[in-house]
């Protein structure tokens, strides 16, 4: 049995000391998050920094909602890259397709958990949404398109794309043979099955791409359609959400691919060419987002309503400047690094990973700046400026969610090939 497990590809079934240590650490963070959520659930949201807008001078949407947007955003890149690989036949990118799809699924699950964390009474929220949701509301679109449509479509795509590898894995004598057989569902890699999968994945990719643009747009509309909230009410919210989603998702995908390249020693399949493509994609997305940001900033400061101007001032040199400028810098540095690499044609994975880390920090900062300042500084009623400071409960729950996502990723890697198993000729 041991010799069989040693032969499994990509370290499946091999529980190394490093991996065990990582899982142990993640379990500690998850426990901390679970304890924090228990405190919040039993004592109410008073243990968080969330307070009513206006009368209590606070924000009702805080860190949780910022991370809902962040996680949904991260999910964008995964399935987009997977769908583009299929539609544009980018065969050299196939090694990252499964890790991208998995990233989408896990981040959507984390987004759903973040929504639940934000609700004081999660069960009531779910039931009322399912029963009384209104089609005109962007919340309805976000729920039906993001959670049901997008997540389910990603799961279907992921499942079907993994059948071939499940069939291959089922030929090994492992304790999880039953699982691989179940996943393979009789797949035998016949020409007919391959052709059928080619057709299915093509049409799924065609269906998924517009779905995810719509889904991310509805999330942008949750903010962009609120006329009574300065800095939210903007036609640019929806497209900016889509673009920033791509920025954070591609950035995270680069990090994951680089980590797996090192852990699995897969320099051949996860070649520099793969990172080069991802880097170029990231560069274009950041440039587009910077353009949107400048347009929005000019509009709000040049001709904006005085509430909007006050809010912009708070971000540029007021209460939120300490988040705003580092976020902008975290976008500018990667774009300079990426342009330089694109011009010199010398791509360095270390610099790409650094860009990925920076854009994700920028994404978190920008999400926070979208959600919070409009509530604390943007009241149209004659209330003074409010404030919002997240408590340890919120930080712990968010940390626990990240740890849960990492744990799911780490567990999956030990159970199933994280990259498509190459065919006999060596191609994916």
């Amino acid at each position: 049995m041991t010799t069989q497990i040693e032969k499994l590809p990509y370290g499946i079934g091999r529980l190394t000391a490093g991996w065990s240590l990582l899982v142990g650490l993640l379990l500690v963070f998850i426990s901390l998050g679970a304890y924090a959520y228990y405190r919040q659930f039993t004592e109410g949201e008073v243990v968080t920094g969330l307070r009513n807008i206006g009368t209590m001078g606070g924000a009702t949407w805080g860190l949780y909602v910022a991370f809902v947007i962040y996680f949904v955003g991260v999910s964008f890149a995964g399935i987009t890259v997977a769908a583009l690989i299929r539609l544009l036949n980018l065969s050299h990118l196939r090694p990252v397709s499964r890790m991208a799809e998995l990233l989408t699924i896990i981040s959507l699950i984390l987004a759903a958990f973040s929504i639940l964390a934000d609700l004081g009474q999660p069960l009531r929220g779910i039931v009322n949404l399912l029963r009384y949701a209104r089609p005109q509301s962007p919340f309805f679109g976000t729920f039906t398109l993001v959670i049901s449509g997008y997540l389910f479509a990603s799961l279907v795509y992921f499942y079907l794309a993994g059948r071939r590898d499940a069939a291959l894995m089922a030929q090994y004598e492992t304790p999880f043979r039953w699982f691989y057989r179940l996943w393979a569902a009789g797949y035998q890699d016949t020409p007919a099955e391959r052709e059928r999968h080619r057709r299915t994945s093509f049409w799924l990719a065609i269906a998924i791409l517009p779905l995810l643009v719509t889904a991310h747009s509805t999330l942008g509309f949750v903010f962009g359609l609120q006329i009574g909230r300065p800095a939210w009410f903007s036609a640019l919210q929806a497209p900016a959400f889509v673009i920033m989603a791509g920025v954070s998702g591609v950035g995270l995908l680069i990090i994951i691919a680089a980590v797996l390249r090192r852990i699995l020693n897969e320099r051949e399949h996860l070649s520099v060419a793969v990172f080069q493509w991802l880097g170029r994609f990231l560069m274009v997305l950041i440039l587009a987002y910077l353009y949107f940001m400048i347009v929005e900033l000019l509009t709000s400061t040049y001709t904006g309503h005085h509430h909007e101007v006050r809010l912009t001032q708070a971000m540029l040199w007021g209460e939120y400047a300490w988040i705003y400028w580092p976020s902008v810098t975290s976008l500018l540095i990667p774009v300079v690094l990426l342009i330089r690499q694109a011009l010199t044609h010398q791509w360095r994975i270390g610099l790409l990973v650094a860009s990925g880390v920076l854009v994700n920090l920028a994404a978190v900062g920008k999400r926070y700046l979208i959600v919070v300042p409009s509530q604390t500084q943007g009241s149209l009623l004659p209330y003074g400026s409010g404030s919002y400071v997240p408590t340890w409960v919120e930080y712990s729950i968010v940390l626990g969610l990240f740890a849960l996502g990492a744990l799911l990723y780490a567990l999956f890697m030990k159970l199933f090939p994280i990259m498509p198993i190459p065919e006999r000729g060596g191609e994916h």
Binding site: K7, V156, A192, E193, R196, L264
Partner: protein, 126 residues
């Protein structure tokens, strides 16, 4: 009996139908301006309880209970979305006509040989 393509098509049509019916006919009505209270309440919430209570003591009691699902239009919409995407699974998993698929496994690479040579381990090892 419907073949694979027929079942896939049936699932697609049913899924899209569920979405259209729930979105446009069961949930809150569309209208302008959308902020008006007239367009706030889901339509069937008022209709179905009345129907169900009317049939409470008749032989229609149980069939009318099924109508309760109509008070959950978002759930119906989600089911429709899921059905549409599940049609891809149906298309890929259900067998093709027997005569067509039966001869193909003989050509399959997987069945003939031990796959160890097909499966490359990390670092290019087999």
């Amino acid at each position: 009996m419907l073949m694979r393509r027929g079942k896939t098509l049936a699932m697609l049509i049913s899924g899209f139908s569920l979405m259209v019916v729930s979105y446009f006919f069961l949930a809150a009505p569309w209208g302008f301006p959308p902020s008006s209270v007239v367009y706030s309440n889901p339509r069937v919430v008022l209709v179905t309880p009345t129907l169900i209570s009317l049939g409470e003591y008749s032989f229609l009691a149980w069939p009318l209970r099924v109508l309760e699902i109509l008070t959950w239009p978002p759930v119906i919409f989600v089911l429709g979305v899921m059905m549409v995407f599940l049609s891809a699974v149906v298309y890929e998993l259900l067998p093709e006509k027997r005569s067509y698929d039966a001869r193909l496994p003989q050509q399959a690479g997987l069945k003939q040989t031990q796959t160890e040579s097909q499966v490359r381990g990390p670092g290019g090892t087999s």
